[in-house]
């Protein structure tokens, strides 16, 4: 199926851009006329994915975070968050709730939140090449 609309943007992995990234995605998805709850769920999932790229993907340097948002006629939205950072050596382990390499102040819930706030989550990663997180959610139209 072809998307009815699409946006792509990228930004350096400064943590101050986390707020911008989720607000930009949320603003684009407003076209689907989503409920506030659905939109907030996707906003949260995007925030988690972008934070992972910044905290883990580019943990030792500043790199570029790439975001693509596609929306479809049936209310489906696909958000892809990519980085060209260090990659995840063991995706299965990284996705376990409470697992974190981020230190004491990180809850280790990022992937668990993405999973529960979206309809599907796909993660691909190559060490020293980068990570790609694809979030899919179906938005029910407000009546």
């Amino acid at each position: 199926m072809k998307p009815v609309n699409k946006v792509e943007f990228n930004f350096p992995s400064n943590s101050v851009n986390e707020g911008f990234a989720r607000a930009a995605v949320s603003s684009f998805l407003a076209q689907l006329d989503p409920t506030v709850a659905d939109l907030t769920d996707m906003k949260t999932a995007v925030s988690e994915a972008v934070t992972n790229a910044i905290v883990h993907g580019y943990r030792d340097n500043i790199g570029i975070v790439y975001i693509t948002v596609k929306i479809f006629e049936n209310g489906k939205a696909i958000v892809k968050v990519r980085d060209k950072g260090c990659g995840i050596p063991d995706i299965k382990q990284a996705m376990e709730p409470l697992y974190t390499t981020g230190g004491e102040e990180r809850a280790g819930l990022g992937f668990a939140v993405m999973q529960s706030f979206c309809d599907s989550l796909r993660v691909t990663s190559k060490e020293n090449k980068g990570t790609s997180v694809t979030l899919t959610k179906f938005f029910e139209r407000k009546e």
């Binding site: 943590s15 949260t44 925030s47 934070t51 981020g102 004491e104 102040e105 809850a107 819930l109 990022g110």
Partner: protein, 105 residues
Amino acid sequence: MSVRLLYKEGVLTARLSGEIDHHTSAEIREEIDETSQKLKPYCLRLDFTEVPFMDSSGIGLILGRIRLYKFWKGHVVLTGLSANVSKMVELSGIGSIAVIEKEAG
């Protein structure tokens, strides 16, 4: 993001205002910890009434403060949770180690 701290009779209330994410939680943490370590209150009340958005960084923030307050046998209370913040708190299971007040205030 801003934090307003109020101390009264052993209770430190932190009124959080704005979105909580990995970026903003660093600033909140510093402000709360500086005063907490000085006063060692027996209770920290985190007031989320003016927090429209929080991702899992907020859970890390709460967990970290629970850990800190354990040093002097204090505890942490969460109050004023919006639907979004509530959903995140429920998912994390943090309710078993922090007190959650249903009414804001």
